[in-house]
């Protein structure tokens, strides 16, 4: 019969479809993957070590650099964890909560738009890239209008927000939300029934709900496998209990379902944004900070707090010794690191070109994987 040739090849770390510096050592037989072994750590910057050596407020800009395409949610998770440690979660003014929610949902949109652009580009569809970046640009402009930065926002503070919304910001947001739903329909028209897209995604990288939980997968990949679990609903933070939104779930747990889940999540995020605009107009302007001590020295204790970041459950585990202004230990539970772990199990038996689809569908950001 045929002679079996096993070959070992390096996929990455400098490969455009690995979304950064992910290296996968592949054992292949022709085009078929026998074994995949991810090698990470190329972007390790010792963020957790830095957190132990800086005062609590100084850490916020460093959280930007974890998942660098979704910095607002990184900020949110960190400041909420410290607020929980201080016991001031309930004191955050409504207006600050709403600004936090709006920035987080905009960040979710921007992160998902970047995911859609690169995922489609990896699988050979170039046009969605141009469409999604058109809208992403407007979101980044909104960020820039709020805090001056477009990617590394550093836009939240322990106890509230640094600034109130600038004049006209809500009008810009309203304009954006009005035209975003038709924009999603445009992306969907390009891909949903596209024969090539479906060939590349349907039935690829199937993961069952039980297995997804065993691997610790969270976020859209977990919901794509049919587990209706979203931290915004399960353990609500900020003013999410007052907002109406649905949690989309998939049926088959394949790449196509995860694609549909993220598309629907974008619609839901836009729905949340639309609800926030009238709500924030009722709150008093300038009421954006809780009254907290300038020196942040939490009591002795430890907390784990997590939020629903665009990629999944982003948790911060902070231990305070009660004596210093530094965290004794601050562990980041990054969604990408945990989700990436399932890649070998998902890739086994598929073709090398499917690995590109799987890396895209897990939506890993290496800044967060390596920290």
């Amino acid at each position: 019969m045929f002679d079996v040739h096993e070959m070992e090849v390096n996929f990455g770390p400098q490969h455009p479809s690995t979304h950064g510096v992910l290296r996968v050592i592949l054992k292949i037989d022709g085009e078929r993957i026998i074994e995949a072994k991810p090698v990470i750590g190329y972007l390790h910057r010792g963020t957790e070590k830095l957190f132990e050596n800086m005062a609590y407020p100084q850490c916020v800009p460093h959280t930007d650099r974890l998942d660098y395409v979704a910095s607002a949610t990184n900020n949110l998770g960190y400041v909420e964890a410290v607020e929980k440690l201080l016991g001031i979660t309930k004191q955050i003014p409504k207006r600050a909560q709403l600004i936090r929610v709006m920035l987080s949902e905009l960040q979710r949109l921007s992160s998902h738009l970047l995911w859609l652009a690169t995922h489609a580009l990896d699988l050979g569809a170039m046009t969605p890239f141009f469409y999604t970046f058109r809208e992403r640009e407007e979101i980044l402009d909104l960020f820039e209008a709020y805090c001056g930065a477009r990617l590394t926002l550093n836009c939240m503070r322990i106890g509230g927000m640094p600034d109130d919304l600038p004049d006209g910001w809500l009008d810009d947001l309203e304009e954006f939300t009005a035209k975003f739903d038709p924009a999603i329909d445009e992306y969907a028209a390009l891909l949903n029934t596209n024969r090539i897209w479906k060939r590349r995604t349907v039935g690829i990288g199937v993961i069952s709900p039980e297995e997804a939980i065993d691997w610790g997968i969270t976020g859209p990949p977990l919901r794509g496998s049919g587990v209706e679990w979203d931290l915004r609903r399960a353990q609500p933070y900020e003013c999410y209990p007052e907002l109406q939104f649905d949690i989309p779930i998939g049926k088959n747990g394949d790449t196509y379902d995860r694609y549909l889940v993220r598309m629907e999540e974008m619609r839901q995020a836009n729905r949340i944004l639309k609800q926030c605009i009238p709500m924030i107009k009722e709150t008093p302007a300038g009421d954006i900070k809780a009254k907290i001590s300038r020196v942040i020295r939490p009591p002795e204790g430890e907390v784990y707090h997590s939020i629903e970041a665009p990629k999944g459950e982003l948790g911060y585990y902070i231990i305070s010794d009660g004596k210093t202004q530094n965290a004794y230990r601050c562990r980041v539970r990054p969604p990408s690191f945990i989700n990436l772990q399932a890649l070998p199990a998902m890739a086994k038996g598929y073709l090398v070109s499917d690995l590109v689809a799987l890396i895209g569908t897990l939506d890993v950001v290496l800044g967060e994987v390596d920290r």
Binding site: K49, L50, V227, A234, P236, Y304, Y317, R331
Partner: protein, 331 residues
Amino acid sequence: MAEQEGTHRPAAPAAAAPKGRTAEEIRQDPLVSATVEKVAYAILDAKEFAGEITLIADRDEIVEVARAFKNDSFNYLVDLAGVDYSTYPGYKGDRFGVSYVLYSFDRNVRVRLRVYTDAKTPIPSVSSVWKTANWQEREVFDMFGVGFSNHPNLERILMWDGFNGHPLRKDFPLRGIDTGAAIYPEIFPDGGGPKAGSTGKTPQNVNIFKGEWTQYGYGIPAGYDGRKTQMEPAPELAGAVADTARPTAEAPWHDPHLALDQRLELAKGVDLKAKLFAAMAQTDCTACGWDCEGYAAALAAGETKDITLCIPGESETETALKKLLAEAKTM
């Protein structure tokens, strides 16, 4: 796609438990009591902060405890974090802690388990209970050097194989260690940094960098007052001319290019300390443990009686010092 009939719809979040309960009361909490009863022998202590329950478990029984919790609907291992308690105020006990955050989809609550271990004793791996523990335990091993027994592939994950040390240990310097030594052994001297060659696969096999951060090059540290303090003697620097070896108005003889008799000529009619200073080799090499002026002051004040410390001055300086000190005694 936006279906409302989920397979796992979470229950409403549990109310935060009141603070200040005793360990016994926490064990009776309806949240954990059923499981704790099953593995009561392995639960050593219980703590609570901000409504989060932490159960301290026996290190060697952690797999049993984990399995009991998994059977009791805590089927999701959220997070596995190592902690180095070596500098924690007032802490006495095994150096490392490993926290397991568990989550129950059915009850929508989290519980934390914790075990303690020292650097040598491995913790039984829970990767047979949850697949997700695999990489997380590797990370704890990589960052803290805590071993896990029965782990399928306990390798470094973020640092590279052969890296020495474990970055999140409290004694690992924040500035990092000099990895140049491993790459350029011909430039960096032996012991100047971590050495390549250890596999880093087991905690015993890792060559941990124990020494101080070495500074290469030499010179007198800024702000050093040679007259008051003695530095570590640096015999390997003997004869090296420091930046400070320049003649000044007060000490015109402080010039390493002048011969001994010329220097003593310049130092005629000054006090004993200045005369002794003029007899030194004037290099400020610190091989004796002071600079030249500091050594002279120490001799004049009687802090040291040893006149043989000036290595670059050789026997010439020694004879001159002997003569000057003898003259001072007779006067």
